[in-house]
């Protein structure tokens, strides 16, 4: 799949943002005054910024409101509802923290749950796709939620929680890589099943349908730089999980958290790039390219 920057930015930023908002909503961090304004502002900025970034890849963003209509069947629609619900429900909590209103925290707990649901919905947009076997697995939502929780915890300075979450994330990532590598073949997809002509013999592409480019090949078939996959996987796991976890052994202060979050974000971006770049869509079978 084509690793579009807008989608990478969207999913990394909103994952972190909703994770952080969840921690703020639950009251595990209890800032007040301008600090609260700044922290809640950061959470909202990441989450909303991510969502806005996601609209950049829409062909007709002016109709985006229509995306709320199909919550019964569409994970993208559910994501829209969950994200808006989370952002709306958490607004009074943020206001309360900022202005010291001391409103009850129950709404914040619901908001925090909605943040996690939002990220789960985001993950399910990918995980539901049988056409992309690497994504079509429980490790996809688990990994997205792992990023969400670990990132949120890290940004909230919950060092112990963050440390465990980052370790779990590392395990999830490595499991996801290993398991994902086998899945395409395990599902039985092949040029033979895609075309049905395997009954005659081993098929291969003779001539592509068009020498000119097309949307399918640009969007679904990405083979450039896969040869660097092993290195990139190590970088992703190291930067997203292991380095930040190690940093947490240092005295926790704003600087260590900032550095850890920076590593984590870069690692998350690399992981997300790999998430797309490594994902093979079955339509590639028709082109003999995956």
């Amino acid at each position: 799949m084509h690793p579009a920057p807008s989608v990478i930015i969207f999913s990394v930023a909103s994952g972190l943002g909703f994770g952080f908002l969840a921690f703020l909503g639950m009251g595990l961090v209890l800032p007040s005054g301008l600090v609260a304004f700044a922290l809640w502002g950061l959470g909202y900025a990441l989450a909303v910024g991510g969502l806005v970034s996601a609209t950049f890849h829409l062909g007709n963003p002016q109709r985006a409101l229509l995306a709320f209509t199909q919550w019964r069947s569409s994970w993208l629609s559910r994501e829209a509802w969950a994200s808006v619900a989370a952002l709306v429900l958490l607004a009074p909590v943020a206001l309360s923290d900022w202005l010291g209103l001391g409103w009850p925290r129950g709404v914040g707990m619901i908001g925090a749950a909605l943040c996690l649901i939002t990220v789960f919905c985001t993950a399910m947009i990918y995980a539901q796709l049988k056409t992309v076997p690497r994504w079509n697995h429980w490790t996809t939502p688990a990994t997205f939620l792992g990023f969400c929780v670990a990132g949120g915890a890290l940004l909230s300075g919950q060092s112990l929680f963050a440390g465990w979450a980052l370790m779990i994330l590392a395990v999830l990532l490595m499991a996801g890589f290993a398991e994902g590598d086998r899945r395409f073949a395990a599902r039985g997809h092949s040029m033979a099943s895609a075309t049905g002509i395997g009954r005659i013999g081993t098929p291969q592409v003779f001539e592509q349908p068009h020498t000119g480019g097309n949307y399918l090949m640009r969007e679904m078939i990405f083979i450039v730089a896969r040869k660097h996959v092993e290195k990139l996987r190590i970088i992703a796991v190291s930067l997203a999980a292991i380095f930040p976890a190690l940093l947490l052994f240092l005295p926790v202060n704003a600087l260590t958290i900032a550095v850890a979050v920076a590593f984590h974000l870069i690692g998350a971006a690399v992981q997300r790039w790999l998430f797309f770049a490594e994902a093979e869509h079955v339509v590639g079978l028709y082109y003999g390219m995956r």
Binding site: F206, P209, H210, T211, G212
Partner: protein, 918 residues
């Protein structure tokens, strides 16, 4: 969950108007429905009522809408201002352009008309263009058949009185086995596809004999991956097997062919005092004219030492050198498979005979209660004919059809009116002594013997292309591919003005493209161009445009009148004669004129006979007016339908409403063959009478198929030293081999010189592209925007090729560097690519970095128009020695692996954009 769906209007208006005309995206001439919305062409589909395509349409036809908006369209007349080849032009008016053309042509017309050479490429108006050239008085006229498929056409005419495509086709509704030889996708494309679809629909068998298994060969039930240039060897071996097993149609041979005729001591057939061919009547044992009522020709007769043609043919092809075991290695097909193919032919022809319950009467007066057919049919086109043994190979294929008894019988091959038409019903070539005014007949024809060669009194060729000379005596379509080389060399003489229509000679239509560009720009010692003037007409900014001095911009096919005429190449079907028109379904938005109208204007300005009235005033306003009012013979004009008062067919006075009647009928006319005349046409009285009624000929002309070709034998005899018109010594041996009166096979020329070049290299045309024309089409160029060279597994593995590699391909004539890909379904000694995808940078309105120009390539650079010198100091043209057909497919190469490149080689400097400003 609930289901909800929006309201949808499923009956939207389709268009404001449908105008029905004829396609020109290839040579097929399908009927198209052109939809218009708000005066603009909005959609093109096939015309269901049309006899050629019956509603279907190919990829090119449906993309015609992009042809009328292509940026490559020329916009106004242009006069060269920079050096030739630079593409520097100034726009001029039509008055200036026509005045300039007349200023160049008029002095030639008056003093040396041969110094005007007029050759046309994709010409579907040859009856007009040749008529014009006859009037001008130049012997130098032809269309592009010489580099296309003249071998197939001429071999067919000389053998059975017709060939494939426009001459005839398989009886698709009845055939049970269809055998396709060689590359054939490029002519008659929709009809063949429709035919293959019919066969597939009823599970009939399709066999492909082709080095490359794409297209029609991909759906063939059996594929014979033959080595190029050996088709004739295979066919004669099939004939060997059929003879050996006695699986031949003896009654057919006896009644309808010259098999029972007697070969006299001079190699010509014995004739009676009335000039009629003689056969020995089985009943009497005495000679009798072939056509006397009740005669039963004896195939085994010997009369005064003269044996029948049948005995000559049997003796020749039964010889062990034609046995499958003797030819298998050369053709690349095992002997058992050759025998199996022969068995399949025999099985279909003799075990699956079909009978149509229709009585008919033959020319001898014998009534036949039914029509019995042998349901085996064949098709072949350029694949077998573009070799230097192509004429004889095509003859061999016709012989195979004859001995199986399939020609003009139900389920076999089926002529399209006005064919059948034997060679002796065609004109002979006409040339006039120089400077004496108009020719007395058409330039092109079918020589019966050396007396019809187009030679000057000193024995040198009269024509610039050396057509109808000893180098290629039966060059019925001329040799357009030799015109530039000969004019440049001054051999046989220099010319002044080269006038070309729709022929991309500076690119894909020439062998040796780079050298051709040099010839077009070459200057003599005085600094003048060796070819002093070039006038070119095309609708688009092809590579050739830059090499002309004067450009006469043509319209697109939807902006003009045309006629697809019975005088030329009509759209008949076996069961109906038919012709068609084009008409302006949309108006040009630029200063262009239909070439035919321009030619008529020039004809009037030059006062050519037929183009001015008795007062010297222009006779025709434009091409539409000519189509309506021109009469070639009394009552016979370009179009056969709705003549006279609108009720006459074939013969009748001009009808001013004729074009309107065609338009109302969808752009075509058909006259159906009567039921009793549908088969056995050359010998069927009902057909012969109908053909006379239609004006195809003026008296019935039944004939026998020429298994033994007397015109060939006359040249053969000359090569043996007989007669007073003798070939040059250097050509004697070659003529003796090539002009054999019975079909033979010999290795393609250049085989010896090519010993260091072990690989055959071919091109074929993709079904979604036609020549160069598709590349300027926004839709089609997305399908074929570049072309790799396909290598067979053996070569791929031997050189260690990998995906993404390129290759250096070398021939005796040069080298190219091109991308390669692997293909297993390919003869192991053959490489190939798609034809004419490669473009010169800047041509055709494309970006200079278009993939057509960076990755695309031509094989033409590797092919010379001349064969290597063979020790006698002479270089013969790279053509068939009988017809002069360009031997494109004789190419031999050597392959080396090279790393991936950014640019295919050779690359040439970019041409300026001569099309529509974007």
């Amino acid at each position: 969950m609930t289901h909800h769906q929006p309201h949808l209007d499923t009956s939207p208006p389709v268009s404001d108007e449908i105008r029905r005309t004829t396609c020109y995206m290839c040579a097929c001439r399908c009927g198209i429905n052109v939809h218009l919305k708000s005066g603009k062409v909005s959609y093109i589909e096939g015309n269901r009522a049309h006899p050629v395509n019956k509603g279907v349409l190919c990829a090119k036809g449906a993309s015609g809408i992009k042809q009328i908006t292509a940026p490559s369209r020329l916009r106004s007349p242009l006069k060269r201002v920079g050096p030739r080849g630079s593409g520097a032009f100034e726009k001029i008016s039509w008055d200036e352009a026509l005045a300039l053309a007349v200023a160049w042509m008029k002095p030639l017309q008056d003093t040396a008309p041969e110094k005007l050479a007029f050759f046309t490429g994709r010409d579907q108006s040859q009856s007009l263009t040749s008529f014009w050239a006859q009037g001008f008085g130049t012997p130098n006229y032809a269309a592009h058949g010489g580099f296309c498929s003249v071998n197939m056409a001429a071999a067919g005419i000389y053998t059975i009185g017709g060939a494939f495509w426009e001459f005839g086709q398989p009886d698709w509704d009845h055939t049970r086995l269809f055998v396709l030889f060689g590359v054939a996708e490029d002519h008659d494309s929709n009809p063949i596809k429709i035919g293959i679809g019919k066969l597939k629909g009823r599970g009939a068998k399709v066999i492909g004999v082709n080095p490359i298994r794409t297209g029609y060969n991909a759906v063939a039930d059996d594929w014979y991956g033959i080595t190029p240039g050996t088709d004739g060897l295979l066919i004669l071996s099939l004939i060997h097997c059929l003879l050996e097993a006695g699986k031949i149609d003896l009654p057919y041979l006896a009644q309808w062919t010259n098999a029972p005729c007697l070969v006299g001591p001079d190699g010509l057939l014995l004739r009676g005092e009335d000039g009629k061919l003689l056969v020995v009547d089985t009943a009497t044992g005495q000679p009798a004219a072939f056509d006397v009522p009740g005669v039963q020709p004896d195939l085994g007769a010997v009369w005064q030492g003269s044996r029948t043609v049948f005995q000559h043919l049997a003796k020749r092809y039964l010889a062990p050198d034609h046995a499958p075991e003797a030819v298998a290695d050369r053709v690349g097909i095992t002997a058992p498979r050759i025998r199996a193919l022969a068995a399949e032919l025999a099985h279909a022809a003799f075990d699956q005979t079909i009978t149509i319950d229709q009585s008919w009467t033959d020319f001898r007066g014998t009534r036949h209660a039914t029509m019995v057919g042998r349901p085996v049919s064949f098709h072949a086109m350029r694949g077998i004919s573009a070799h230097s043994n192509g004429f004889q190979t095509a003859r061999a294929l016709h012989l195979l059809q004859i001995i199986l008894g399939t020609v003009e019988t139900p389920g076999g091959y089926h002529f399209k009116p006005p064919y059948p038409k034997p060679f002796d019903a065609h004109p002979v070539p006409h040339i006039m002594p120089r400077g004496s005014g108009p020719l007395t007949g058409p330039h092109l024809g079918y020589p019966r013997g050396p007396e019809h060669l187009a030679l000057l009194p000193d024995g040198s060729p009269a024509r610039i292309d050396k057509a109808f000379s000893w180098e290629n005596p039966l060059s019925a379509h001329g040799l357009m591919h030799m015109v530039i080389a000969n004019a440049h060399a001054g051999d046989p003489y220099r010319i002044d003005t080269l006038f070309l229509y729709m022929a991309n000679m500076a690119w894909n239509s020439s062998m040796n493209t780079a050298a051709t560009m040099d010839m077009l720009t070459a200057k003599d010692g005085a600094g003048e161009y060796v070819i002093p003037r070039i006038i070119y007409s095309d609708a688009y900014a092809s590579e050739m445009v830059a090499y002309a001095d004067l450009i006469l911009p043509d319209t697109t096919y939807m902006e003009r009148h045309d006629c697809i005429s019975m005088l030329d190449r009509p759209i008949s079907e076996p069961d109906a004669a038919g012709d068609a028109i084009r008409w302006p379904v949309t108006e040009p938005d630029r200063d262009v004129r239909g070439f035919q109208s321009v030619l008529i204007d020039l004809g009037a300005r030059l006062a050519l006979p037929g183009f001015v009235d008795t007062e010297g005033a222009p006779k025709f306003a434009n091409y539409a007016d000519y189509i309506t009012r021109h009469e070639r013979r009394a009552g016979v004009g370009p179009l056969m339908g709705w003549r006279g008062d609108g009720t006459a067919t074939g013969r009748g006075a001009p009808n001013p409403d004729q074009l309107d009647r065609y338009i109302a009928n969808g752009g075509f006319f058909q006259a159906h063959v009567p039921d009793a005349a549908r088969y056995f046409k050359p010998w069927n009285r009902a057909y012969q009478d109908w053909a006379v009624e239609m004006g195809f000929y003026d008296a019935p002309q039944p004939y026998l198929f020429s298994i033994w070709s007397e015109p060939m034998r006359r040249f053969h005899a000359a090569a043996e030293g007989q007669g007073d018109r003798q070939p040059p010594e250097a050509l004697r041996a070659r003529l003796k081999q090539a002009m054999d009166p019975l079909p033979i096979w010999y290795p393609p020329f250049g085989e010896v010189a090519a010993a260091a070049y072990p690989v055959h290299a071919l091109t074929q045309r993709p079904m979604a592209m036609y020549h160069s024309w598709g590349s300027q089409n926004a839709w089609l160029r997305q399908i074929h925007g570049r072309n790799p060279l396909y290598l067979p597994t053996k070569i791929w593995a031997k050189h260690g090729f990998a995906a993404g590699d390129w290759a250096r391909v070398t021939s005796p004539n040069g080298e190219i560097v091109v991308p390669v890909e692997h293909m297993a379904a390919l003869n192991p000694h053959t490489v190939w690519t798609w034809n004419a995808i490669g473009k010169r940078k800047g041509a055709w309105g494309l970006d200079q970095n278009a993939p057509e120009a960076t990755k695309g390539f031509l094989l033409n650079h590797l092919i010379s128009e001349l064969l290597p010198e063979q020790g006698d100091g002479l270089r013969w043209s790279n053509s068939d020695p009988v017809t002069g057909q360009a031997a494109w497919f004789d190419l031999r190469v050597r392959i080396e692996r090279v790393d991936a490149q950014m640019q295919s080689l050779p690359a040439f400097g970019p041409l300026p954009d001569l099309g529509e400003p974007s």
